[in-house]
């Protein structure tokens, strides 16, 4: 009478097969899992752009000389500024900045040429809209460099005019930017976006998977079977890892095509890193679903535990080392932080395992912890009837 119990693998396969079938039949979840990351990358990728280029500029040339025009040409002939207005009256500056028609205004005062000729160091006024601090500081930096370069050029010419030649600047900086020579923010942001998007999407979908079974009563049916909690957890994880790897590749592809972010490092290392991160995210989702009873609560917990931490604490946008120590301590709980360090190393720097093995270790530890705790929770729920209790309030029968 008693059935011969075949190896564990058989039960596990039944769960995996069932999950795949359910996901395949649920078009909404499938689209959410596969297409959403790509779509979000598109949205965020274009919206989150820290490059300061094509800043709208207004100039007010009170001097109106060849020298002042040449000076202003330094600004208008770069891609950093777009000349929008040429003002004749400096009083219009207020209105333009206030209405955000322009972000930077350049005022060349009357007597610019005369002062230059007399060697009196004429002052040029630059007004910057500081409402967006990060954009403004980059603009200020660019302006400073342009003015500085022009000043050096003028001095050199002046000296040459006076017959002094054969000198060099006493100190020259030779700056070379590695890994991202054009300093494009996309290269920095795409890996971060990938972590952020995958985390949010994954945790939400997996958080639903166990809770849904509780709500529909199928969990109870599984709990009376000899299926082990670990088999259930692993069986539920496998299909989602598979699908989320597909969507990760989609994100990588979009990053390459749309933002020119190429992978410099080893692909297998990248795959390993992504898998570890994804397993951790799935574990977190499953854990949420073992402690909640309704899909609503699971959704809220999933959003709360992924959205802000991944956005703020992972180093995605804000560098972790600039945070106060207490907040820095919190960042150790965010798996995306480790993932980002490793991901940027691989994609941007092409670094080898030696550079970030510790990050991978942390990711693996996080994944193991999440899956372990979920399994324990599931086991406990099975024995003390926490899950069964969720079905107790089904009164109101005829």
């Amino acid at each position: 009478m008693n059935p011969k119990r075949v190896p564990v693998f058989c039960c596990l396969r039944a769960v995996v097969k069932k999950e795949f079938r359910q996901i395949a039949r649920d078009a909404r979840t499938l689209i959410f899992l596969i297409a959403m990351p790509g779509f979000l990358l598109l949205m965020f990728g274009f919206a989150l752009n820290f490059d300061v280029k094509h800043v709208p500029l207004a100039v007010c040339d009170e001097d109106g000389s060849a020298a002042s025009r040449a000076f202003m040409g330094n600004f208008t002939h770069t891609e950093y500024f777009d000349l929008k207005y040429e003002l004749s009256d400096p009083r219009e500056v207020d209105r333009l900045l206030g209405e955000e028609k322009v972000r930077v205004v350049l005022v060349v005062p009357r007597g610019f040429t005369a002062d230059l000729a007399a060697g009196r160091e004429p002052a040029v006024q630059v007004l910057v809209d500081g409402a967006n601090a990060s954009g403004a500081s980059t603009a200020v930096g660019t302006i400073g460099t342009i003015v500085q370069n022009d000043a050096v050029r003028m001095t050199t010419r002046l000296l040459r005019d006076r017959g002094i030649t054969g000198f060099g600047t006493p100190l020259a900086s030779d700056v070379r930017v590695w890994y991202n020579p054009e300093l494009r923010s996309a290269i920095f942001l795409v890996p971060g976006l990938m972590a952020f998007i995958l985390m949010v999407i994954l945790v939400i979908t997996t958080a639903f998977s166990v809770v849904r079974e509780k709500e529909r009563g199928t969990m109870e049916q599984i709990m009376v079977s000899p299926l082990k909690p670990a088999e259930l957890i692993i069986g539920k994880t496998v299909p989602y890892i598979f699908i989320s790897l597909v969507s990760s590749h989609l994100v990588l592809l979009l990053g390459l095509v749309l933002f020119g972010v190429a992978i410099k490092g080893n692909y297998l290392l990248l795959l390993l890193t992504m898998t570890l991160f994804l397993v951790g995210g799935l574990g977190q989702g499953l854990l949420i679903s073992t402690v909640t009873r309704t899909q609503q609560v699971a959704f809220q917990l999933a959003i709360l535990s992924t959205f802000l931490p991944t956005f703020i604490l992972s180093g995605f946008v804000f560098p972790v080392r600039n945070m106060p120590p207490v907040v820095q301590a919190l960042t150790y709980l965010v798996p995306a932080k480790y993932f980002l360090v490793a991901l940027r190393s691989i994609i941007i720097k092409g670094a080898g395992l030696g550079a970030f093995w510790d990050q991978l270790l942390c990711l693996a530890a996080f994944a193991a912890m999440m899956l372990g705790v979920s399994t324990l929770r599931m086991k406990k729920a099975g024995e003390t009837g926490k899950i069964a209790k969720s079905g107790r309030g089904r009164g109101g029968r005829p």
């Binding site: 009478m1 008693n2 059935p3 011969k4 119990r5 075949v6 058989c10 039960c11 396969r13 039944a14 769960v15 097969k17 069932k18 079938r21 359910q22 039949r25 649920d26 529909r216 009563g217 199928t218 109870e220 049916q221 599984i222 709990m223 009376v224 079977s225 000899p226 299926l227 099975g382 024995e383 003390t384 009837g385 899950i387 069964a388 079905g391 107790r392 089904r394 009164g395 029968r397 005829p398």
Partner: protein, 318 residues
């Protein structure tokens, strides 16, 4: 021991201060249909959950298929089938996918599942509908499919927690035929219900009220043991008026209306019949017929539960 599939001793479950199941003791013989009856919230589901290993007992012990539910829940789980009122199937899977899944989690091999598939489909009357999504099936079909999924692994004992809730009468009758067939093959069936007509199909019954067992035995035994006074079924005009008249008499123990008939409980059959007839006819109510009847289980339960409540109240006051 050899004859019992389930042995329960002083099984108790407490939720906070609420005694859901209060020192319950009973045995279930192998191959029998065991009915566990009671109102909603009486402790039926809590008991069945403990026996299936879904819920730990607060105290007491139970063995199911020879294994202790507390110490060896996994052994128990391999040997039982469980089906609840919710017919917990995956609605987004097809009929055969559900069968494959439940076979799979009980560790049945692919070949075994393929062997069992036609049998389950036949039993559930779903032959030819293997590829239908479960959510498209009617309640009666879902119920039989759920039973099929619960007994795929050929368990020794099947627990059915209100299996006929919300099912139409024809499906209910078909379902009980299935239960009889199972029992005929030597499977022990443990079924909870609050349909008293279904209780008549059981070999053995326990009535649970407020967490305690208040009556037990076969349906016949219960009727004989708990109802000693004869019950007369009276066919007459103006049933309601007749009942009101009879209730005023001190020799009438109890009256109730059953359809168009009146049930009257009296101390003695012959004397009672004469008194009822003379009283009603004196008041101009024609008595068409009057017979002593075998009480229904409903008579038994109403009487037992009222008795139990009075006992408890007086016990509490003392």
């Amino acid at each position: 021991m050899a004859g019992n599939s389930i042995e329960v001793r002083d099984l108790t479950r407490v939720y906070g201060k609420f005694m859901a199941v209060d020192h319950v003791t009973f045995d279930v013989s192998r191959g029998k249909i065991f009915g566990f009856l009671g109102a909603n919230g009486a402790g039926k589901s809590t008991t069945i959950r403990m026996l299936c290993g879904l819920l730990g007992p607060t105290s007491g012990t139970a063995t199911v298929a020879g294994f202790d539910i507390g110490r060896e829940p996994d052994r128990v789980k391999e040997r039982i089938g469980y089906m609840s009122q919710k017919f917990s199937l995956y609605e987004d899977l097809t009929v055969d996918e559900n069968i494959s899944f439940f076979g799979g989690i009980y560790g049945l091999s692919k070949e075994r599942i393929r062997e069992m598939m036609p049998w389950v489909l036949e039993m559930a009357g779903l032959r030819g509908r293997e590829r239908s999504l479960t959510r498209e099936l009617s309640v009666g079909w879902k119920q039989r499919l759920a039973l099929g999924c619960a007994i795929l692994h050929e368990p020794e004992i099947v627990f059915l927690d209100e299996p006929t809730g919300g099912v139409d009468p024809v499906s209910r009758r078909n379902f009980w035929e299935l239960i009889n067939r199972l029992s005929g093959r030597g499977v022990t069936v443990f079924v909870t219900t609050h349909y008293l007509d279904e209780a008549e199909y059981c070999n053995d019954i326990r009535l649970i009220h407020a967490g305690r067992l208040v009556a037990g035995g076969s349906p016949m035994e219960m009727k004989r043991t708990y109802i000693r006074n004869p019950i007369l079924e009276v066919g007459c005009d103006r049933v309601v008026d007749a009942m009101e008249m009879l209730q005023k008499e001190d020799w009438v123990l109890e009256t109730s209306i059953f359809g168009t008939y009146l049930h009257v409980s009296v101390g003695d059959e012959t004397e009672g019949k004469a008194k009822v007839r003379s009283l009603l006819e004196a008041n101009g109510i024609a008595v068409r017929r009057m017979d002593r009847i075998v009480p229904s289980l409903e008579d038994v339960f109403i009487q037992r539960i009222e008795q139990e409540s009075t006992d408890r109240d007086s016990g509490g006051a003392a």
